[in-house]
């Protein structure tokens, strides 16, 4: 065991850490924004809204993220028409391919979490809103969504941690994230234990931070549900 290898390569690991956090943050923001309309559509009784969204969720939850990334990165680049289109600016870069795959994936999972919470909204709350003369839009905006999102916090925290761990897949499409950095260190020094243990420690620290933030959020937003 020779942890001096790790000390020599700390700058590389920290650079990787930066990319991991960046990928995580951007994907979560895009995924969250997408998941709200998607969850409302998935909870809708109108099949024209519900079925396409359900299909999207089914596909993205039903296939491994690694396959989604390979299709988006290596698969799409095989088509000449895509390479000649303006979209190539985005698809040419591994970074954006990863962001697209991660965002769509987390959007599918998050939409499913929110859909469940929306459907579990207390009937009384909706009836009260109707009695006050609120439109459907106002009901969602003031009653259903705020309550559903609050109740989703514990499950969403789980999804954020899963997403953090899913970002290691960026390493397979040339990106040097935390895991990619560990792979480079391993390939240079043949020290799998040292490289991956250090990367693992970084992930533990990030996970711990995420858990802590969600605990604060739960204490704040779910106070009224505490027993």
């Amino acid at each position: 065991m020779d942890f001096s290898i790790i000390i020599d390569n700390l700058p590389l690991l920290f650079k990787g850490l930066g990319l991991t956090l960046q990928l995580l943050a951007i994907s979560l923001v895009i995924g969250f924004i997408l998941s709200i309309p998607l969850s409302i559509m998935a909870a809708s009784i109108n099949p024209w809204l519900r079925i396409p969204v359900k299909t999207f969720i089914y596909i993205f939850r039903g296939t491994p993220l690694l396959i989604q990334i390979f299709i988006i990165y290596y698969g799409f680049s095989q088509f000449d028409w895509l390479r000649e289109s303006i979209f190539w600016v985005i698809f040419k870069q591994a970074y954006w391919c990863a962001v697209i795959a991660f965002s769509l994936n987390t959007a599918a999972y998050t939409a499913e979490i929110f859909r469940g919470a929306i459907l579990q909204t207390q009937k009384g709350e909706i009836e009260a809103a109707e009695a006050c003369g609120m439109s459907r839009f106002d009901q969602y905006r003031h009653i259903i969504l705020p309550s559903a999102l609050r109740r989703s916090i514990p499950m969403y925290g789980n999804e954020v941690i899963f997403m953090l761990h899913a970002t290691v897949l960026a390493g397979v499409i040339t990106l040097v994230d935390l895991f990619g950095a560990a792979k480079i260190i391993n390939s240079r020094h043949y020290a799998p234990f040292e490289s991956f243990i250090s990367a693992g420690l970084f992930y533990l620290v990030i996970t711990f931070t995420i858990v802590f933030i969600f605990k604060l959020a739960e204490n704040h937003f779910l106070k009224h549900l505490k027993r």
């Binding site: 680049s77 095989q78 870069q93 591994a94 480079i184 391993n186 390939s187 043949y190």
Partner: protein, 259 residues
């Protein structure tokens, strides 16, 4: 007398048991990559073929042992040897000082330089200045990776791939300007249909500081006996012409260098 007979038969069966274990062929498990044509590739039906594979089989035959080829990804090929998943690596591995810290090597069984390829007619000058801002694909953890990181690293955008095939995919897609790898491997690619638009550019690199003393068979440092056997077998197939026969199947030029 009856008692004697039973003892005799017991002894006889014992002898038989010992003799079978003596005459049964030893098995040598060999780690190969299976994703580095033309040295080793996996065919459509899942079997392995290539220069490394043929050499491995020829060496086993020369050593009179049973050969068991085990496929292993490049990233983990040395750790798996150390973890005793197999006893030797025949996977076009360059003998570098860094690797020698972890494994022992046989004598070389071939030598190979590294080169760049780029799109035909591409006006890239291979020099530190010429490559500024260009992106180069290499397979992660190879000597080509070390060379380019060490000699050009600061000035160019190096993209590292898990396999050589992924590097070609991105060259085809236009995500990288050049691929830097073993000249033999690139030769196979530019001769193929997918690679017909690409050509060699710049000189051949074989700086021993990076590329070591050629390509050898990696073994655990304790297995000195096996190493001697392999060395003898390499000399053996060089002598009896098996080596040249295999080499001619893949390359129309000498790849062993001076004896």
């Amino acid at each position: 007398m009856k008692k004697n007979l039973s003892i005799m038969s017991l002894l006889l069966s014992f002898l038989l048991l010992i003799s079978t274990s003596v005459f049964a062929k030893d098995t040598v498990r060999i780690g190969v990559e299976g994703a580095y044509p033309p040295f080793s590739k996996t065919t459509k039906d899942g079997s392995l073929e290539g220069f490394d594979i043929d050499i491995a089989k020829a060496l086993c035959k020369k050593m009179d042992v049973e050969c068991k080829l085990i496929k292993q990804d490049w990233d983990g090929i040395i750790p798996a040897l150390l973890a005793r998943k197999y006893d030797a690596i025949i996977a076009s591995m360059s003998m570098t000082d860094e690797r020698k810290k972890k494994v022992a090597f046989s004598n070389r069984y071939y030598q190979s330089p590294a080169r760049f390829i780029t799109k035909k007619g591409g006006k890239i000058k291979i020099s530190k200045d010429g490559l500024k801002g260009k992106s180069v694909a290499v397979q992660r953890g190879t000597v080509s990776d070390k060379f380019i990181t060490g000699e050009f690293g600061e000035d160019i955008d190096i993209k590292r791939y898990g396999t050589q095939e992924e590097a070609y995919l991105d060259l085809n897609a236009g995500r990288v300007d050049l691929v830097f790898a073993d000249a033999f491997v690139l030769l196979e690619y530019i001769n193929s249909d997918k690679g017909k638009d690409y050509e060699f550019i710049g000189e051949s690199y074989s700086d021993p500081k990076y590329f070591g003393e050629g390509i050898g068979i990696a073994l655990r440092q304790k297995d000195t006996e096996l190493k001697e056997k392999f060395n003898k077998a390499i000399a053996g197939i060089r002598e009896d012409g098996t080596y040249d026969e295999i080499r001619k199947k893949y390359f129309d030029f000498d790849i062993f260098g001076k004896d």
